[in-house]
Amino acid sequence: MKALKLLLLPYLAVVIAAAFLWPEPAAGFIGESSRIVFFHVPCAWTSTLAFLVAAVYSAAYLWKRNPWYDDVAAAAVRLGLLFGVLTLVTGSLFANVMWGSWWNWDPRESSYLLLVFLYAAYLFLRAAVEDPDRRPRIAAAYALFAVVLMPFLTFVAPRITASLHPQTVINPQGKVLMDTPTRAVFFGALAGFSGLFAWMLSVDARAGRLRRIGQDILGS
Protein backbone atom coordinates (compact mmCIF):
# COMPACT_ATOMS: atom_id res chain seq x y z
CA MET A 1 0.00 0.00 0.00
CA LYS A 2 2.87 2.37 0.73
CA ALA A 3 4.32 1.69 -2.71
CA LEU A 4 0.93 2.34 -4.26
CA LYS A 5 0.63 5.66 -2.45
CA LEU A 6 4.04 6.83 -3.63
CA LEU A 7 3.37 5.78 -7.21
CA LEU A 8 -0.12 7.27 -7.36
CA LEU A 9 0.83 10.91 -6.98
CA PRO A 10 3.18 11.17 -9.98
CA TYR A 11 1.02 8.76 -12.01
CA LEU A 12 -2.15 10.78 -11.57
CA ALA A 13 -0.25 14.01 -12.22
CA VAL A 14 0.85 12.59 -15.57
CA VAL A 15 -2.65 11.37 -16.39
CA ILE A 16 -4.27 14.72 -15.56
CA ALA A 17 -1.70 16.62 -17.62
CA ALA A 18 -2.09 14.20 -20.50
CA ALA A 19 -5.88 14.55 -20.35
CA PHE A 20 -5.56 18.22 -21.21
CA LEU A 21 -2.57 18.08 -23.52
CA TRP A 22 -2.33 14.87 -25.50
CA PRO A 23 -5.53 13.67 -27.22
CA GLU A 24 -7.44 15.97 -29.59
CA PRO A 25 -10.99 16.93 -28.55
CA ALA A 26 -13.49 14.42 -29.93
CA ALA A 27 -15.77 15.16 -32.85
CA GLY A 28 -19.40 15.89 -32.11
CA PHE A 29 -18.64 17.64 -28.82
CA ILE A 30 -18.61 21.38 -28.09
CA GLY A 31 -15.08 22.76 -27.67
CA GLU A 32 -12.85 20.89 -25.26
CA SER A 33 -15.77 19.37 -23.36
CA SER A 34 -15.03 15.81 -24.46
CA ARG A 35 -12.02 15.86 -22.12
CA ILE A 36 -14.45 15.37 -19.26
CA VAL A 37 -14.58 11.69 -20.21
CA PHE A 38 -11.17 11.26 -18.55
CA PHE A 39 -12.61 12.34 -15.21
CA HIS A 40 -16.32 11.72 -15.35
CA VAL A 41 -16.18 8.10 -16.47
CA PRO A 42 -13.47 7.02 -14.00
CA CYS A 43 -15.51 8.64 -11.20
CA ALA A 44 -18.59 6.73 -12.33
CA TRP A 45 -16.60 3.52 -12.62
CA THR A 46 -15.08 4.01 -9.16
CA SER A 47 -18.45 4.74 -7.64
CA THR A 48 -19.84 1.49 -9.06
CA LEU A 49 -16.69 -0.40 -8.04
CA ALA A 50 -17.17 0.92 -4.51
CA PHE A 51 -20.67 -0.49 -4.47
CA LEU A 52 -19.44 -3.94 -5.56
CA VAL A 53 -16.65 -3.85 -2.95
CA ALA A 54 -19.18 -2.92 -0.27
CA ALA A 55 -21.41 -5.81 -1.34
CA VAL A 56 -18.59 -8.36 -1.36
CA TYR A 57 -17.31 -7.29 2.04
CA SER A 58 -20.85 -7.20 3.45
CA ALA A 59 -21.31 -10.80 2.34
CA ALA A 60 -17.89 -11.68 3.76
CA TYR A 61 -18.89 -10.13 7.08
CA LEU A 62 -22.08 -12.18 7.25
CA TRP A 63 -20.09 -15.30 6.51
CA LYS A 64 -17.10 -14.82 8.82
CA ARG A 65 -18.41 -12.21 11.29
CA ASN A 66 -15.05 -10.46 11.20
CA PRO A 67 -15.60 -6.77 12.11
CA TRP A 68 -12.80 -5.67 9.76
CA TYR A 69 -14.95 -6.70 6.79
CA ASP A 70 -17.67 -4.39 8.05
CA ASP A 71 -15.13 -1.56 8.42
CA VAL A 72 -14.14 -2.05 4.76
CA ALA A 73 -17.75 -2.20 3.57
CA ALA A 74 -18.65 1.03 5.36
CA ALA A 75 -15.52 2.76 4.03
CA ALA A 76 -16.36 1.60 0.51
CA VAL A 77 -19.83 3.13 0.77
CA ARG A 78 -18.44 6.44 2.04
CA LEU A 79 -16.06 6.54 -0.92
CA GLY A 80 -18.81 5.44 -3.26
CA LEU A 81 -20.81 8.45 -2.10
CA LEU A 82 -17.86 10.78 -2.71
CA PHE A 83 -17.15 9.49 -6.21
CA GLY A 84 -20.85 9.32 -6.98
CA VAL A 85 -21.26 12.99 -6.14
CA LEU A 86 -18.20 13.78 -8.27
CA THR A 87 -19.77 11.82 -11.13
CA LEU A 88 -22.92 13.90 -10.88
CA VAL A 89 -21.00 17.17 -10.66
CA THR A 90 -18.74 16.44 -13.64
CA GLY A 91 -21.71 15.12 -15.61
CA SER A 92 -23.71 18.21 -14.77
CA LEU A 93 -20.90 20.53 -15.93
CA PHE A 94 -20.76 18.62 -19.20
CA ALA A 95 -24.53 18.76 -19.61
CA ASN A 96 -24.51 22.51 -19.15
CA VAL A 97 -21.84 22.96 -21.83
CA MET A 98 -23.42 20.53 -24.31
CA TRP A 99 -27.15 21.10 -23.84
CA GLY A 100 -27.38 24.32 -21.85
CA SER A 101 -28.99 22.90 -18.72
CA TRP A 102 -27.50 21.45 -15.55
CA TRP A 103 -29.92 18.55 -15.25
CA ASN A 104 -32.10 16.77 -17.79
CA TRP A 105 -33.59 13.76 -15.99
CA ASP A 106 -31.76 11.59 -18.47
CA PRO A 107 -32.13 7.92 -17.40
CA ARG A 108 -28.39 7.41 -17.00
CA GLU A 109 -28.05 10.65 -15.03
CA SER A 110 -30.97 9.63 -12.87
CA SER A 111 -29.57 6.19 -12.15
CA TYR A 112 -26.42 7.76 -10.69
CA LEU A 113 -28.49 10.16 -8.63
CA LEU A 114 -30.27 7.11 -7.30
CA LEU A 115 -26.96 5.41 -6.50
CA VAL A 116 -25.93 8.47 -4.48
CA PHE A 117 -29.26 8.32 -2.62
CA LEU A 118 -28.61 4.64 -1.95
CA TYR A 119 -25.19 5.33 -0.45
CA ALA A 120 -26.61 8.09 1.71
CA ALA A 121 -29.45 5.78 2.83
CA TYR A 122 -26.94 3.08 3.84
CA LEU A 123 -24.94 5.55 5.92
CA PHE A 124 -28.10 6.93 7.51
CA LEU A 125 -29.23 3.40 8.38
CA ARG A 126 -25.87 2.68 10.03
CA ALA A 127 -26.14 5.84 12.07
CA ALA A 128 -29.70 5.01 13.16
CA VAL A 129 -28.95 1.53 14.52
CA GLU A 130 -27.74 2.21 18.04
CA ASP A 131 -26.71 -1.32 18.98
CA PRO A 132 -23.11 -1.78 17.73
CA ASP A 133 -23.55 -5.55 17.61
CA ARG A 134 -26.53 -5.34 15.27
CA ARG A 135 -25.33 -2.45 13.14
CA PRO A 136 -22.95 -4.42 10.86
CA ARG A 137 -25.60 -7.10 10.21
CA ILE A 138 -28.38 -4.65 9.41
CA ALA A 139 -26.05 -2.64 7.16
CA ALA A 140 -24.89 -5.80 5.39
CA ALA A 141 -28.49 -6.93 4.86
CA TYR A 142 -29.37 -3.59 3.27
CA ALA A 143 -26.26 -3.58 1.07
CA LEU A 144 -26.93 -7.08 -0.24
CA PHE A 145 -30.63 -6.40 -0.81
CA ALA A 146 -29.64 -3.33 -2.79
CA VAL A 147 -27.22 -5.44 -4.85
CA VAL A 148 -30.08 -7.73 -5.82
CA LEU A 149 -32.12 -4.75 -7.03
CA MET A 150 -29.12 -2.90 -8.54
CA PRO A 151 -29.58 -4.17 -12.10
CA PHE A 152 -32.96 -2.46 -12.17
CA LEU A 153 -31.47 0.80 -10.93
CA THR A 154 -28.60 1.05 -13.32
CA PHE A 155 -29.21 -1.14 -16.32
CA VAL A 156 -32.89 -1.63 -17.03
CA ALA A 157 -34.04 1.96 -16.64
CA PRO A 158 -31.40 3.51 -18.93
CA ARG A 159 -32.08 0.90 -21.55
CA ILE A 160 -35.83 1.01 -21.85
CA THR A 161 -35.96 4.74 -22.50
CA ALA A 162 -34.06 6.78 -25.10
CA SER A 163 -31.13 8.69 -23.71
CA LEU A 164 -29.33 12.00 -24.30
CA HIS A 165 -26.23 10.48 -22.73
CA PRO A 166 -23.38 9.90 -25.20
CA GLN A 167 -22.68 6.39 -26.41
CA THR A 168 -20.74 4.56 -23.70
CA VAL A 169 -17.64 2.43 -24.03
CA ILE A 170 -19.85 -0.62 -23.53
CA ASN A 171 -21.84 -0.13 -26.70
CA PRO A 172 -23.90 -2.36 -29.00
CA GLN A 173 -21.07 -2.60 -31.56
CA GLY A 174 -18.81 -3.98 -28.84
CA LYS A 175 -15.81 -2.01 -30.05
CA VAL A 176 -13.90 0.80 -28.39
CA LEU A 177 -14.52 3.76 -30.69
CA MET A 178 -11.54 5.88 -29.62
CA ASP A 179 -8.24 6.87 -31.21
CA THR A 180 -4.97 5.76 -29.60
CA PRO A 181 -4.12 8.86 -27.49
CA THR A 182 -7.67 9.05 -26.17
CA ARG A 183 -7.74 5.35 -25.42
CA ALA A 184 -4.40 5.53 -23.62
CA VAL A 185 -5.37 8.44 -21.39
CA PHE A 186 -8.85 7.03 -20.79
CA PHE A 187 -7.70 3.61 -19.60
CA GLY A 188 -4.80 5.27 -17.80
CA ALA A 189 -7.26 7.45 -15.89
CA LEU A 190 -9.42 4.43 -15.17
CA ALA A 191 -6.44 2.59 -13.67
CA GLY A 192 -5.34 5.68 -11.75
CA PHE A 193 -8.74 6.27 -10.19
CA SER A 194 -8.98 2.59 -9.27
CA GLY A 195 -5.60 2.84 -7.53
CA LEU A 196 -6.72 6.02 -5.79
CA PHE A 197 -9.84 4.24 -4.61
CA ALA A 198 -7.86 1.27 -3.30
CA TRP A 199 -5.55 3.54 -1.32
CA MET A 200 -8.36 5.72 0.07
CA LEU A 201 -10.31 2.59 0.98
CA SER A 202 -7.38 1.25 2.94
CA VAL A 203 -6.96 4.51 4.87
CA ASP A 204 -10.69 5.02 5.58
CA ALA A 205 -11.27 1.41 6.62
CA ARG A 206 -8.36 1.52 9.04
CA ALA A 207 -9.63 4.80 10.46
CA GLY A 208 -13.04 3.18 10.89
CA ARG A 209 -11.50 0.24 12.70
CA LEU A 210 -9.65 2.56 15.08
CA ARG A 211 -12.87 4.44 15.78
CA ARG A 212 -14.64 1.17 16.55
CA ILE A 213 -11.88 -0.10 18.85
CA GLY A 214 -11.75 3.29 20.56
CA GLN A 215 -15.48 3.21 21.22
CA ASP A 216 -15.20 -0.31 22.62
CA ILE A 217 -12.48 0.80 25.02
CA LEU A 218 -14.36 3.90 26.12
CA GLY A 219 -17.55 1.87 26.43
CA SER A 220 -19.64 4.46 24.59
Binding site: P132, D133, Q215, D216, I217, G219, S220
Partner: protein
Protein backbone atom coordinates in the same frame (compact mmCIF):
# COMPACT_ATOMS: atom_id res chain seq x y z
CA UNK B 1 -33.65 -39.88 24.41
CA UNK B 2 -31.70 -37.67 26.82
CA UNK B 3 -31.14 -34.11 25.76
CA UNK B 4 -28.01 -32.24 26.71
CA UNK B 5 -27.59 -28.52 26.71
CA UNK B 6 -23.99 -27.41 26.97
CA UNK B 7 -22.17 -24.11 26.89
CA UNK B 8 -18.53 -24.04 25.79
CA UNK B 9 -16.48 -21.03 26.84
CA UNK B 10 -19.35 -18.58 26.51
CA UNK B 11 -18.53 -14.92 26.68
CA UNK B 12 -20.69 -11.86 26.21
CA UNK B 13 -19.58 -8.26 26.00
CA UNK B 14 -21.65 -5.18 25.18
CA UNK B 15 -19.61 -2.54 23.32
CA UNK B 16 -16.43 -3.91 24.77
CA UNK B 17 -17.66 -4.04 28.37
CA UNK B 18 -17.61 -7.73 29.40
CA UNK B 19 -20.69 -9.23 31.05
CA UNK B 20 -19.38 -12.72 31.57
CA UNK B 21 -16.60 -14.78 30.05
CA UNK B 22 -15.31 -18.32 29.83
CA UNK B 23 -18.58 -19.85 30.98
CA UNK B 24 -18.89 -23.60 30.46
CA UNK B 25 -21.36 -26.11 31.75
CA UNK B 26 -23.42 -29.08 30.68
CA UNK B 27 -26.76 -30.51 31.81
CA UNK B 28 -28.92 -33.40 30.67
CA UNK B 29 -31.44 -33.65 33.48
CA UNK B 30 -32.46 -31.84 36.61
CA UNK B 31 -32.61 -28.27 37.76
CA UNK B 32 -29.79 -25.81 37.08
CA UNK B 33 -30.06 -22.80 39.35
CA UNK B 34 -28.83 -19.61 37.67
CA UNK B 35 -28.08 -17.04 40.34
CA UNK B 36 -26.49 -13.62 40.42
CA UNK B 37 -27.11 -10.03 41.31
CA UNK B 38 -29.06 -7.63 39.08
CA UNK B 39 -26.99 -6.82 36.02
CA UNK B 40 -24.82 -9.92 36.30
CA UNK B 41 -26.08 -11.23 32.96
CA UNK B 42 -28.60 -13.95 33.90
CA UNK B 43 -31.19 -12.79 31.37
CA UNK B 44 -28.62 -12.41 28.60
CA UNK B 45 -27.13 -15.82 29.33
CA UNK B 46 -30.52 -17.50 29.23
CA UNK B 47 -31.39 -15.75 25.96
CA UNK B 48 -28.12 -16.97 24.46
CA UNK B 49 -28.90 -20.52 25.59
CA UNK B 50 -32.40 -20.22 24.14
CA UNK B 51 -31.04 -19.02 20.80
CA UNK B 52 -32.42 -15.49 21.11
CA UNK B 53 -29.04 -13.75 21.34
CA UNK B 54 -25.54 -14.37 20.09
CA UNK B 55 -22.53 -14.79 22.37
CA UNK B 56 -19.44 -12.71 21.71
CA UNK B 57 -17.40 -15.93 21.86
CA UNK B 58 -17.96 -19.59 22.55
CA UNK B 59 -20.92 -21.72 21.58
CA UNK B 60 -24.03 -23.47 22.78
CA UNK B 61 -24.76 -27.10 21.94
CA UNK B 62 -28.16 -28.71 22.21
CA UNK B 63 -28.13 -32.41 21.48
CA UNK B 64 -31.31 -34.37 21.31
CA UNK B 65 -29.62 -37.47 19.93
CA UNK B 66 -26.17 -39.00 20.27
CA UNK B 67 -25.29 -38.56 16.59
CA UNK B 68 -24.59 -34.85 16.88
CA UNK B 69 -25.79 -31.32 17.47
CA UNK B 70 -29.34 -30.32 16.73
CA UNK B 71 -29.94 -28.01 13.78
CA UNK B 72 -30.98 -24.43 14.59
CA UNK B 73 -34.52 -24.99 13.36
CA UNK B 74 -35.04 -28.10 15.50
CA UNK B 75 -33.41 -26.32 18.43
CA UNK B 76 -35.93 -23.53 18.11
CA UNK B 77 -38.72 -25.74 19.44
CA UNK B 78 -36.61 -28.19 21.48
CA UNK B 79 -35.70 -25.39 23.90
CA UNK B 80 -38.59 -23.68 25.66
CA UNK B 81 -38.04 -20.20 27.08
CA UNK B 82 -39.92 -17.58 29.02
CA UNK B 83 -38.52 -14.35 30.41
CA UNK B 84 -39.66 -11.02 31.80
CA UNK B 85 -39.59 -9.32 28.41
CA UNK B 86 -41.65 -11.98 26.69
CA UNK B 87 -44.89 -10.39 25.52
CA UNK B 88 -47.77 -12.08 23.73
CA UNK B 89 -50.41 -10.53 21.50
CA UNK B 90 -52.67 -8.26 23.54
CA UNK B 91 -55.39 -8.07 20.89
CA UNK B 92 -55.71 -11.87 20.79
CA UNK B 93 -57.17 -14.13 23.48
CA UNK B 94 -54.96 -16.52 25.45
CA UNK B 95 -56.29 -19.41 23.39
CA UNK B 96 -55.74 -17.56 20.09
CA UNK B 97 -52.18 -16.76 21.13
CA UNK B 98 -51.29 -20.39 21.78
CA UNK B 99 -53.13 -21.57 18.67
CA UNK B 100 -51.26 -19.03 16.54
CA UNK B 101 -47.80 -20.12 17.71
CA UNK B 102 -48.66 -23.81 17.35
CA UNK B 103 -50.02 -23.44 13.83
CA UNK B 104 -47.29 -21.09 12.63
CA UNK B 105 -44.70 -23.59 13.86
CA UNK B 106 -46.44 -26.30 11.86
CA UNK B 107 -47.88 -28.19 14.83
CA UNK B 108 -51.49 -29.24 15.41
CA UNK B 109 -53.57 -26.85 17.48
CA UNK B 110 -56.59 -28.65 18.84
CA UNK B 111 -58.80 -26.39 20.92
CA UNK B 112 -59.38 -28.85 23.80
CA UNK B 113 -55.67 -29.59 24.13
CA UNK B 114 -54.76 -25.91 24.26
CA UNK B 115 -57.48 -25.17 26.81
CA UNK B 116 -56.07 -28.01 28.93
CA UNK B 117 -52.60 -26.45 28.73
CA UNK B 118 -54.00 -23.13 29.88
CA UNK B 119 -55.80 -24.86 32.76
CA UNK B 120 -52.50 -26.53 33.72
CA UNK B 121 -50.98 -23.10 34.37
CA UNK B 122 -54.01 -22.10 36.41
CA UNK B 123 -55.84 -19.94 33.89
CA UNK B 124 -59.56 -20.37 34.48
CA UNK B 125 -62.06 -21.20 31.73
CA UNK B 126 -63.22 -17.59 31.54
CA UNK B 127 -59.69 -16.25 31.08
CA UNK B 128 -59.04 -18.53 28.12
CA UNK B 129 -61.31 -16.48 25.86
CA UNK B 130 -60.31 -13.07 27.16
CA UNK B 131 -57.90 -10.79 25.35
CA UNK B 132 -54.44 -10.81 26.86
CA UNK B 133 -54.44 -7.03 27.17
CA UNK B 134 -57.11 -7.46 29.86
CA UNK B 135 -54.98 -9.88 31.90
CA UNK B 136 -53.48 -9.03 35.26
CA UNK B 137 -49.71 -9.27 35.80
CA UNK B 138 -50.08 -12.69 37.38
CA UNK B 139 -52.25 -14.01 34.57
CA UNK B 140 -49.75 -12.78 31.97
CA UNK B 141 -46.98 -14.55 33.87
CA UNK B 142 -48.95 -17.81 33.86
CA UNK B 143 -49.46 -17.41 30.13
CA UNK B 144 -45.69 -16.95 29.70
CA UNK B 145 -45.12 -20.28 31.41
CA UNK B 146 -47.72 -21.89 29.13
CA UNK B 147 -45.80 -20.46 26.16
CA UNK B 148 -42.52 -21.88 27.44
CA UNK B 149 -43.91 -25.44 27.56
CA UNK B 150 -46.11 -25.10 24.47
CA UNK B 151 -44.02 -27.46 22.36
CA UNK B 152 -43.19 -29.89 25.20
CA UNK B 153 -39.55 -28.88 24.94
CA UNK B 154 -36.70 -31.16 25.91
CA UNK B 155 -34.93 -28.22 27.56
CA UNK B 156 -36.81 -25.64 29.63
CA UNK B 157 -35.42 -22.19 30.39
CA UNK B 158 -37.30 -19.96 32.81
CA UNK B 159 -36.10 -16.46 33.65
CA UNK B 160 -37.69 -15.06 36.83
CA UNK B 161 -40.83 -17.21 36.45
CA UNK B 162 -42.27 -16.35 39.89
CA UNK B 163 -42.48 -12.57 39.43
CA UNK B 164 -46.02 -11.31 39.97
CA UNK B 165 -47.41 -14.70 40.98
CA UNK B 166 -49.54 -15.46 44.03
CA UNK B 167 -49.02 -18.59 46.16
CA UNK B 168 -51.06 -20.78 43.78
CA UNK B 169 -49.12 -19.40 40.83
CA UNK B 170 -45.82 -20.26 42.48
CA UNK B 171 -47.05 -23.77 43.18
CA UNK B 172 -48.05 -24.09 39.52
CA UNK B 173 -44.57 -23.13 38.37
CA UNK B 174 -43.05 -25.56 40.89
CA UNK B 175 -45.22 -28.32 39.39
CA UNK B 176 -44.17 -27.45 35.84
CA UNK B 177 -40.50 -27.39 36.84
CA UNK B 178 -40.79 -30.66 38.77
CA UNK B 179 -42.32 -32.42 35.76
CA UNK B 180 -39.81 -30.93 33.30
CA UNK B 181 -36.70 -31.78 35.36
CA UNK B 182 -37.55 -35.47 35.17
CA UNK B 183 -37.49 -35.33 31.34
CA UNK B 184 -34.53 -33.05 30.75
CA UNK B 185 -32.59 -30.02 31.94
CA UNK B 186 -34.39 -27.02 33.43
CA UNK B 187 -32.52 -23.74 33.79
CA UNK B 188 -34.14 -21.36 36.22
CA UNK B 189 -32.90 -17.86 36.95
CA UNK B 190 -34.04 -15.91 39.97
CA UNK B 191 -32.98 -13.27 42.47
CA UNK B 192 -34.76 -15.23 45.21
CA UNK B 193 -32.98 -18.33 46.54
CA UNK B 194 -36.30 -19.81 47.63
CA UNK B 195 -37.24 -20.31 43.99
CA UNK B 196 -34.57 -23.00 43.62
CA UNK B 197 -36.08 -26.31 44.82
CA UNK B 198 -33.31 -28.86 45.34
CA UNK B 199 -31.12 -27.72 42.43
CA UNK B 200 -28.85 -30.32 40.84
CA UNK B 201 -26.37 -27.75 39.56
CA UNK B 202 -25.66 -24.11 40.20
CA UNK B 203 -24.39 -21.31 37.97
CA UNK B 204 -23.32 -18.23 39.87
CA UNK B 205 -22.90 -15.18 37.70
CA UNK B 206 -20.76 -12.59 39.40
CA UNK B 207 -19.96 -9.25 37.72
CA UNK B 208 -16.38 -10.33 37.00
CA UNK B 209 -17.23 -13.64 35.35
CA UNK B 210 -19.05 -16.87 36.03
CA UNK B 211 -18.38 -19.90 38.18
CA UNK B 212 -20.22 -23.12 37.53
Amino acid sequence: MPTTIAAENLSKAFSGAPLFSGLSFSASRGLVAVAGKNGSGKTTLLKILAGLARPTAGRVRVETDPSGSTSPSARRLAVGWAGPDLQLYGALTALENLAFFRRAAGRPARGEELVARLRDVGLAEGAVHRRVEEFSTGMKQRLRVAFAVLFDPAVLILDEPMVGLDVEGRETVDRVVAAARERGPVLLASNDERDFVRPDQRLDLSPAGARA
